[in-house]
């Protein structure tokens, strides 16, 4: 269950030469929360995560955990999966996990137990003595997640953990992330799989050009947008909705139209106008998917 502890990112900025990668970015990921971090390529997601991990130094701003700025000791408690995957190619799987566990302060036997547990969980138990480079890309990805989890981290930061995974691996990854969040960790991950993010995340942040453009539950994001209606009137002539006050045509799909209502417009007026043209087969409030919400907010900032 979410507690009052949170990973807080406050006012961070980072400039590379003339490129402003992140500007005054701020949001919080609560403990026990699965948090999706979305944005176009180059929006600043990886830069933000690297700043959280201390791999990059921010020009301004602060990252806190449980109210205290992150220091090196706390950062070592973060399980991190970088965008650029990397483990030792010639090291054996179990050995590699044990090494990383020990670097994070575990005893040898504890690291071994944890390493074996995660290999088992990811279906890699029979590859424990195989060199990493002999594994398939998907299995290397699983190893990368195991490397982030082996030392029982307090926080998880994962850069595109789902990229390149097959559907079975996606299910395993999803279950593990959910389970870690339920165990009380703040879990933040970036992804371009917006359907997946919508399905599994408690909250979502959308960033564009290094700035936060939306943050909240998917329902929150929907509430912020204008009301939209799907109306299917097979018998109506095209353009029947033009005469309805406060309604704007967004899209036509066959005989269905998607209408956007101006604030304060009564949807019953729209229904009556539709009925006046013939039988109405469908009349429902449109629930925009995250993909649509994403396009909307990104479209606004791009314009």
């Amino acid at each position: 269950m979410p507690s009052d502890r949170a990973l807080e990112i406050e006012g961070i900025s980072k400039t590379f030469g003339a490129v402003e990668a992140v500007r005054d970015l701020g949001f919080a990921v609560r403990a026990g929360e699965l948090f999706g971090f979305v944005g176009r390529n180059g929006a600043g997601k990886t830069t933000t995560m690297r700043i959280v991990l201390g791999v990059l130094a921010a020009d301004a701003g602060v990252v806190r955990w449980a109210g205290r700025p992150l220091d090196f000791a706390t950062r070592r408690r973060i399980g991190y999966m970088p965008e650029e995957r990397g483990l030792y190619p010639k090291m054996r799987c179990l050995e590699q996990l044990v090494y990383l566990g020990e670097l994070h302060g575990m005893s040898g036997p504890a690291a071994r137990t944890a390493g074996l547990g995660w290999l088992d969980r990811f279906g890699l138990a029979d590859r424990r003595d195989a060199e990493l480079q002999t594994l398939s890309m998907g299995n290397q990805q699983r190893m990368q997640l195991a490397a982030a989890l082996v030392f029982d981290p307090e926080i998880l930061v994962l850069d595109e953990p789902f990229a390149g995974l097959d559907p079975v691996a996606v299910d395993v990854m999803t279950a593990v992330l959910r389970e870690r969040a339920d165990a009380g960790l703040p879990v933040i991950f970036s992804s371009h799989e917006l359907d997946l993010v919508e399905r599994i995340c408690d909250r979502v942040a959308i960033i564009d050009h290094g700035r936060l453009v939306a943050c909240g539950t998917v329902a929150d994001l929907r509430r912020g947008g204008p009301e939209r209606l799907w109306v299917d009137v097979p018998g109506a002539s095209a353009g029947w909705a033009d005469g309805v006050d406060g309604a704007t045509l967004v899209r036509v799909e066959g005989s269905r139209v998607l209408l956007e209502l101006a604030p304060g417009t009564d949807d019953q007026v729209v229904l009556q106008a539709a009925l006046a043209t013939g039988p109405v087969r469908e009349f429902r409030r449109a629930e925009p998917s995250l993909v649509e919400l994403f396009r909307d907010v990104i479209g606004e900032t791009a314009a």
Partner: protein, 398 residues
Amino acid sequence: MTAPSGRPTAGAWPIVLLVARREVLTRLRSRVFIGGTVVMVALLAIAIVGYSLVGGRTAAALRVGFTGGSQALEQDFSTSATALGQPVRVTDVSDEAAGRAQVSAGTLDVLVTGPATSPTVVVEQSASGVVQAALEHAVLSARFTAVGIPPGVLETVVSGLQAPVDALQPKKPGMTQDRVVGLGVAILLFITLGLYGSQVAQGVVEEKATRIMEIMLATVRPSRMLAGKVVGIGLVAMLQLGIVAAATLAAVDTTHVLTTPALGATAVLGYLLWFLLGFLLFATGYATLASLVSRPEEVQGAVTPVAVFQIGSYLLAYLALANPSSPIVAIASVLPPFAPILMPVRTTGGDVPAWQVGLALALTVAAIAGLIWLAGRVYANSAMRIGARVRFMDAFRG
């Protein structure tokens, strides 16, 4: 769950040792280490055995045949030659013609023929000084006996005949042997420093190229990572050199090919100490420059400045062997980065003043300390700059 700060922070040394242990285990398993050690030991064994067969013939017993009256000289000759350090095997030969045939066939090294008081020596090319001296002694003894002087008188007259020489700058005995050892030390130090220095360089770049660096930097401080790598690879190198040194000493001990203090246990430990210092110096330099690039194929170019000093030290070692009293050699041998190769090579001659060795050690240790500081700074600043080569001054400033 523990509080964020509730976990103990691992100290510097456990981390350095963990990183070092990984380097050691990974490398001990590699074919490069096993194969490299076998090849080095094999090459040295071949060199030593070959030397004992070709150059070290003096150690083998000389076959000397006597014929006619000279056969009376056999026992005296044999005793004198052995006393002069030349083992001989003396045989009777039936007549001069048969003896000459045996010498030209190579089954006899020396034939002594004619009367005991004025014999003739028959050899393939030349007779060694030892053979002539021993024969001279035997003939002298035979002539004394011929004129009725008892053999004991000769010893009394001859003993102490050679005036003692008080050399102001005595030439060391076994100078050539020392040079052989010095050359071996120079070659071995140069090869292993280069081999393991480039392993450090490759290791640093591998971590950048495979991007494991990003996980590591989020876990381990760069300076500890660097220290662990240098210590780990250094231990592997010391182990390999130790094996090679032990095998060399064993081979030398078996074949008796070289007998010089330059191959004593103390001297060998000294060479290992210099290797350790040289390794710390060069490996840190290699690691610093290698951290500026991101691709394995760029390493060679990046580390060239350090390699130049290493090759320079190697070339100076040849100068030191050819001209040990050269002031250039004396000055360079106390200065890093030349000292770790040049000083041990000089010490194989055995006549380096202790203060020069001490100064060389002190300056080298100081240089290592300074370089480690520099390396930590450059490495930390360039470790996450993946892509184009980082300019040294940018990495230094951060």
